[in-house]
Amino acid sequence: MTAQQIIFLVVAAVTLIAGISVVTSRNLIHSALWLILTLAGVAVFYVLLNAGFFAVIQVVVYIGAIAILFIFAVMLTRRVMQDTGPQSNSYWWLGALIALLLFAGIALIFTNWQGFKALPPVMLDQSGKLVQLGLSLVSPDKYLLPFELASVLLVAGMIGAIYVAGEKKQ
């Protein structure tokens, strides 16, 4: 067991337990906090995968913005400070069954694929990836179009969110 494997197992266990707590917690703010722990665990995985830029982007975008947005939304949409009643609807056994079936299906597909147990190839240029990513996002023959479409999507989302959630003046 190398150190990386131990770190992977510990962080994976923490992240999965936090993920299960997100979907089963009765208090919605606690759900949001468990979500933050899950997102932080996923950020550690990005570091293990030599994608450090994504780790910090995960913290900035997900934990620093989206999680705070969730906490705000939970606080703005509750009449009292406590939660009442059960948090799952009555078909929870069916949901669990579907999730298990999906996991079994994915596992079946993957075990029949010969690249499944591959070890990571050696990555020579670890530090030049940032420049390469930036260049690929603005080169017309690389990924400029998805980049521009994503920015149009963000502007549309921003305008839509401001309009939908804004108070209508009487």
Partner: protein, 102 residues
């Protein structure tokens, strides 16, 4: 060395946990949180495939950046809709938003 199977299995488990949350939770905001779990597992998959199959290229990372942007936009619009519905109907339980059911 960590084989690819560990990352893919982890992402699959996270995806199924998110799927369970989407199908089972009553509160609309909790459903959105579960969708975020699913999107996170997708991005983990993308980055691990990039690392293990084509680390010299950059397509995996560019794809993941676009998915990040889409996730952020989707969360903001979804939460805006939920707040707007809460103002009208005073409830965020997903079963109560049934005006367009047949």
């Amino acid at each position: 060395m960590i084989p690819l199977s560990w990352y893919l299995t982890f992402a699959a488990i996270l995806f199924c946990i998110g799927l369970y949350g989407v199908l089972v939770r009553k509160n609309a905001i909790a459903i959105l949180m579960s969708i975020e779990l699913m999107l996170n597992s997708v991005i983990i998959n993308l980055i691990s495939f990039w690392r293990y199959r084509a680390p010299e290229g950059i397509s995996g990372q560019a794809f993941a950046i676009v998915v990040f942007a889409v996730a952020a936009a989707e969360v903001s619009v979804g939460l805006a809709l939920i707040i707007s519905i809460y103002r009208r109907r005073k409830s965020v339980v997903a079963e109560d938003m049934n005006l367009m059911k047949w």
